[in-house]
């Protein structure tokens, strides 16, 4: 072929490529079609479009699939294109791009899960300025009026492409408190709905009262100078649109807006540590994300409206009226006797928080997690797929056992793995969750805990403590006093490497506000093994207890001064732990921190230390703990070659301990050899009681073989094990752990959230002198929602002006059938004209309530 012809062909090829590229299906971020409107989560939850097939009975144990290949893809449009091209099966990182979401919804070969754990707000600078300029937002009435200035529904459409929810109060619609207090929240949402004229009127009156005036151009001035609102607008996400919209609205009513659009890092010094009185800014577009489904959002009021627990100079300048302060403090510290009292505090704090509005909630962006349509996986309502601890137990191909899943995240191996103070980004945890087992799981749809490895828990609390229980696996008892036994361990002596007992430290006795007694199955130590074949043992539990103290003891070989504040906090509420029995394993945990739910008290990883779950199963916040994998890293840190925490590694100038790859491995291998040679038992004075010499050799041999086969030290008891790590190439291969004892279908019911759908029917016209009956049909996938799974169905009655005039509970007639009959007396609270009845359905299985309403006409 002549060169001329070759070059001609090449040129034609390039041009053809460009034309083809321009004509190809819009499968990437360049897609520009308008997103379809997404139903609001509070109005009608977006049902996850997942296969409905229930798994058939199986004899398979462990994971449904044989292998998961993890890779990294930064952008969600790219991930979706790869799923469509069959090069990927699941994208586990939260995505919020509405254009791509529209593509996913339109493609029948794809499914998705949603999560609702994030929110965007406007944070005001409340301070009066010292530069002679007027800060309108130092006036709470102006802050309150800005609620009317913002059309949140418009923002949902404009900034989020419909993929979100309007938000007015500091609690999330997907979390239980919203359903609990829907009758308190909904009227406030009506009251503060968009009303530009009202906002303008209130703000104008207040501005004039503060000495400002409008000039000939209709702009607000103060002392002859224009009132310029400086907005700190985050540039990385939808908050840029929100901030600009807020400025647009302010300009509509006469303000001048200076838009400082910058990144988080660039803005942080101004609003977090600047002198707020200097007037460097007026508002900041804040955003946040809850990595777990919170069952108690009572802390939000004190954090967002009062200065008590301020972490920034802006928040330190907050002022809140006494009534709000008292209610917020009570909710923050759970200082109430029962749920009725808590409700009363919410009833106080909710409206006052809107009157204060130092912090103005705007929207809840809804995230989505795309996947193949025939792939089933649990997704946490707050943390999505990647942050759900249940995902590895539920992931499966519909109608099939085995197979491979290709999963991607935004980043992979973004930091070192170790169970003491490893990297804890969600990208890491997504993989780590696959390799660790736990004592109890958080229900991804309610936040309540279910027993995974433990058998039962008995929770005792002091009388008058506001706590309740929902599930049968936990018992709850109220007692007048809880004494900590003298032989309970309450502290640690780093020198002798032994625990300090309550009797030694508190000879006069010690009491606690709660005790949780966890009982593990009698056969647990026979059935549960680590990936390297080592059986789980009591020593692993005890090591976790030691880890709550040892790194904070200056006499410890692994002392880490930067961890001392965490230890101090832990000790401030921890009252003791006692191993009642080792066969079966029974552990008592004494603590002054009490959750609102007994299931959370027994199951959650709490405290500020690695792990610290009240059930003491050997898993920490950053991975599975085993004493024999801990030893090489311990020795390396004791020898100043590695450090578990990033801070200590920086201070020492050594590597951050990494069990999975990198230079740490060689160092750990050296110390493994050393430990094996010496048959070393760590913390021998304590753990020596639980480890035999045979155990020592067997465990080290197992670990040596494991390292030889897999070239890493990441050994857990989880449903998958890490088979292969390709750090530079950016992939990790996890394989099904064949010795995992549980049936594969143990958690299959969590494949999909059972979001209720509600249809309301009733008369179109109601007479004030008559009666009216309204019916609600509650269903899931066209089947009646069983009454046993419904927490409550309530109703809210609004008059023509949107005021709540009546609320109450609907009565159940049958599964899915609820009704309310309004008497003439009740109807008399309405006036002639239009009215609305709204049903609020709260399920026991899903925290998100479902709202459905019907408008009708009231005639005299």
């Amino acid at each position: 072929m002549s060169r001329k012809l070759l070059f001609t062909l090449a040129a034609v090829f390039v041009i053809a490529s460009l034309i083809l590229g321009a004509c190809s299906p819009s499968a990437t971020a360049t897609a520009t079609q308008a997103p379809t409107e997404e139903p609001s989560a509070t109005e009608s939850p977006a049902a996850t479009e997942a296969p409905t097939e229930e798994p058939t009975a199986t004899t398979r144990t462990g994971a449904w699939v044989d292998e998961i290949i993890f890779t990294s893809i930064d952008e969600v449009p790219n991930a979706v294109a790869q799923i469509q091209a069959d090069q990927l099966d699941l994208y586990a990182f939260l995505a919020e791009d509405p254009d791509t979401f529209a593509l996913v919804k339109e493609d029948a070969s794809l499914a998705f899960s949603n999560s609702y754990g994030s929110w965007d707000s406007i944070l005001f600078n409340d301070a009066e300025f010292n530069n002679g300029k007027l800060n309108p937002f130092s006036n709470p009435k102006i802050r309150e009026a800005t609620n009317w200035l913002v059309d949140r529904d418009y923002v949902v459409q404009e900034a989020l492409g419909g993929l979100g929810d309007a938000r007015y109060v500091p609690i999330l619609a997907a979390f239980p408190d919203y359903a609990r207090y829907a009758d308190l929240v909904r009227p406030l949402e009506n009251k503060y709905a968009y009303n530009l004229e009202k906002a303008d009127a209130v703000i104008s009156a207040e501005m004039e009262g503060m000495g400002a005036a409008k000039n000939a151009d209709g702009k607000w001035t103060f002392n002859g100078e224009p009132v310029v609102i400086i907005g700190l607008i985050r540039s990385e996400d939808e908050r840029e649109i929100i901030g600009n919209y807020f400025c647009d609205q302010l300009e509509k009513i006469g303000f001048t807006c200076d838009r400082q659009v910058r990144t988080r890092t660039e803005l942080a010094p101004i609003w977090q540590q600047g002198v707020v009185e200097n007037g460097e800014f007026h508002f900041y577009t804040a955003g946040n994300f809850w990595p777990n489904l919170l069952r108690d959002e009572g802390s939000g009021f004190l954090q967002n409206f009062c200065p008590d627990v301020a972490g920034t100079t802006t928040e330190a300048a907050f002022t809140c009226v006494d009534e709000l302060h008292a209610a917020s403090q009570a909710l923050y510290t759970n200082n109430f006797k029962n749920m009725d009292e808590r409700r009363a505090f919410f009833a106080t704090a909710l409206p006052l928080s809107l009157e204060n509005s130092s912090y103005m909630p705007i929207v809840n962006p809804i995230s989505f997690f795309p996947r193949k349509a025939d792939l089933i996986v649990a997704s946490d309502l707050s943390a999505g797929v990647g942050g759900s601890t249940l995902w590895p137990y539920t992931i499966r191909w519909a109608g099939k056992e085995g197979g491979t899943v290709r999963s991607a995240n935004s980043g992979i191996l973004t930091g070192p793995w170790n169970p003491i103070a490893g990297h804890n980004w969600i990208q890491e945890l997504n993989l780590i969750y696959a390799t660790q087992d736990v004592g109890a799981f958080a229900d991804p749809y309610t936040g309540l805990y279910w027993p995974q490895r433990l058998e039962k828990s008995d929770v005792k609390v002091l009388e008058g403590t506001p706590i309740s229980k929902t599930l049968d696996w936990v018992s709850l008892e109220f007692v007048p006093e809880i004494k900590v036994p003298a032989d309970a361990w309450v502290d640690w002596n780093g020198e002798t490497q032994t625990f300090v007992t309550a009797g030694e430290k508190y000879p006069d006795g010690l009491t606690a506000k709660s005790v949780t007694t966890t009982t593990y199955p009698a056969d647990m130590f026979e059935k549960i093994t680590y990936h390297d074949g080592s059986p789980l043992s009591v020593a692993d539990f005890v090591l976790l207890m030691i880890m709550q103290f040892d790194t904070c003891d200056p006499k410890s070989a692994i002392y880490d001064e930067t961890n001392v504040p965490n230890c101090d906090t832990f000790k401030s509420h921890f009252k003791g732990v006692r191993i009642v029995s080792t066969d079966p394993l029974v552990i008592e945990h004494y603590d002054d921190t009490v959750s609102l739910d007994a299931e959370v008290q027994a199951g959650a990883i709490g405290g500020s230390q690695p792990g610290g779950a009240n059930n003491w199963f050997p898993v920490t916040a950053t991975g599975p703990l085993a004493w024999h994998t801990f030893v090489p890293a311990y020795l390396a840190e004791a020898n100043s070659e590695l450090a578990f925490s990033t801070n200590k590694s920086t201070a020492l100038g050594v590597e951050w301990t990494n069990y999975i790859s990198g230079p740490s491995l060689e160092i750990m291998k050296k110390h493994l050899d050393e430990a094996q040679g010496e048959s070393l038992i760590p913390y021998a004075a304590t753990l020596g009681q639980f480890i035999s010499k045979e155990d020592v050799q067997a465990r080290y041999e197992n670990l040596q073989k494991w390292y030889a086969d897999h070239n890493h030290f990441w050994v857990g008891t989880g449903i998958f094990y890490i088979d292969e790590v390709n750090a530079v190439e950016g992939s990790v291969v996890a394989k099904r752990f064949e010795d995992f004892p549980d049936p594969a279908d143990k958690w299959s019911r969590f494949g999909e959230p059972k979001l209720a759908v509600v249809d309301v029917s009733g008369p179109a016209e109601v007479s004030l002198s008559g009666e009216a009956t309204f019916d609600a049909f509650v269903s899931f996938k066209d089947e009646a929602y069983p009454q046993s799974e419904i927490d409550q169905v309530s109703f809210l009655l609004y008059d023509a002006e949107g005021n709540l005039v009546l609320s109450g509970l609907a009565s159940a007639a049958a599964d899915g059938q609820y009704s309310i009959t309004l008497s003439a007396e009740q109807l008399s609270k309405l006036t002639a004209g239009s009215a609305k009845i709204e049903f609020v359905v709260s399920s026991k299985l899903v925290a998100i309530p479902t709202f459905a309403s019907l408008e009708f006409v009231v005639v005299p």
Binding site: F7, A11, S17, G21, S24, P25, A27, T28, I69, F70, T71, I73, D74, N78, A81, Q82, Q84, A85, R264, T265, A268, P269, Q273, N288, S299, D308, V309, A310, G311, T312, T333, R406, L413, G415, W417, T562, P565, D568, T569, F570, S572, H573, T593, S595, S608, T646, N647, S649, T650, W656, I660, S661, G662, S664, N726, A727, V728, E729, S731, V733
Partner: protein, 378 residues
């Protein structure tokens, strides 16, 4: 050897031998001065990098803000902290912020740290990153760079060499076909090079990965990674096709146009016309009368192509999910991770200085008119 070249050589060889010693002195003096000036340039470049990377110390403030936000959010999310009285809570948060600042050295004056950075950089003691870790989880800047170096060298090396040899070859050919339709075609296509490589990359991914589904979207090799060398190499080659093509397409037309114009200028020199008149073959004229005098330019271009490999390309590497140095540098800038930025910059500075130093000698070797330390002969 042609007559003219022979003549040149004779001129060089006819220099008196007594001048050898003075030539050595001249070369030595020149080398010493050149090294000193280059070292000074490197120091200035590094100092400027330190100042710019730290925004004159303002990065400390930014970092403190990030630390505060991280600590506060973590504290607020921790249920255990809710049991603390407000003053204890705030004291705890402040303690944690100050400790983190201490660990990162933010409690020391910026100037002192800048001098320390400078000393470490000049001695190639790259130290540890502030926030980044390497792919294998190491904080050593050396490893962050070394782990990313092979993929970068591979991608940018393959595309660089491909581009270099294609552009020289095609440009030479076009210079012989001045005014032909092919020549006009390349001239017409030259403006295409205003489009960056990553832009071509998006289209290529769309066509070959998304639409035709014959090539991967990105990455360096398949996942899981093939376990034998042959399969690994084939997988690597498959993943190299699109990024290499994108990088080549983005530059090839303009580079060919540049070289072709360059060669055309040299082709119209009098000595070329004389050679043509003597009836020398096209190949001989091209090799001896066009390529040879342009060798210094070609070598310079080649050498700079080589050291440019060190930089990689953040956007192209991101588009193709290629684990290269360009992405690492971009991440370092995003994180304000001065040691990593400095590590990459100082090595590039040394490489550039060394290359510039070496080029002086190479010019003298390939071009007899050039005399080290003595300017060029007419």
């Amino acid at each position: 050897m042609t007559a003219i070249a022979q003549n040149d050589l004779e001129q060089v060889e006819s220099k008196p031998k007594k001048r050898t010693a003075s030539a050595f002195q001249r070369v030595f003096k020149y080398s010493a001065a050149r090294l000193a000036s280059l070292l000074f340039s490197v120091i200035v470049a590094i100092f400027l990098t330190i100042i710019i990377a730290n925004m004159g110390g303002y990065v400390d403030e930014l970092r403190m803000g990030e630390i505060r936000e991280t600590v506060v959010q973590a504290a607020r999310a921790n249920v255990a902290y809710r049991a603390l009285p407000p003053d204890q809570f705030q004291a705890l948060v402040e303690t944690q912020i100050q400790e983190q600042a201490h660990v990162e050295g933010l409690d020391r004056p910026f100037l002192l740290r800048a001098l320390n950075y400078m000393k470490n950089a000049l001695t190639l003691n790259l130290g540890n990153a502030v926030r980044m870790t390497s792919d294998t989880g190491s904080k050593q800047v050396r490893l962050i760079i070394l782990e990313r170096l092979p993929p970068t060298l591979l991608l940018w090396g393959v595309s660089g060499f491909l581009l270099f040899f294609v552009e020289i070859g095609v440009a030479l050919s076009l210079s012989r076909q001045y005014g032909s339709w092919l020549d006009k075609l390349f001239v017409t296509m030259a403006p295409l090079s205003t489009t960056p490589g990553w832009f071509f990359g998006i289209f290529l991914i769309l066509i070959f990965a998304s639409f035709l589904r014959v090539l991967p979207f990105g990455g360096m090799v398949d996942a899981p990674v093939p376990d034998n060398t042959l399969d690994y190499s084939l997988s690597l080659a498959k993943h190299l096709i699109l990024p290499t093509l994108a990088l080549t397409l983005s530059q090839v037309f303009l580079q060919i146009y540049n070289w072709r114009t360059f060669f055309l200028i040299y082709s119209s020199e009098d000595y070329v016309e004389i050679a043509k008149a003597k009836g020398l073959s096209d190949k001989a004229i091209e090799r001896n009368y066009v390529l040879r005098p342009t060798l210094p330019s070609i070598i310079t271009n080649f050498a700079l192509t080589l050291i440019a490999l060190w930089l990689g390309g953040p956007i192209t590497e991101t588009i193709f999910n290629w684990p290269g140095l360009g992405r690492a540098f971009y991440e370092a800038v995003q994180f304000y991770d001065t040691p990593v930025i400095l590590g990459q910059t100082v090595i590039y500075a040394y490489l550039l200085a060394f290359t510039v130093f070496l080029l002086d000698y190479l010019y003298a070797l390939v071009d007899p008119r050039v005399k080290i330390g003595g300017g060029s002969q007419p």
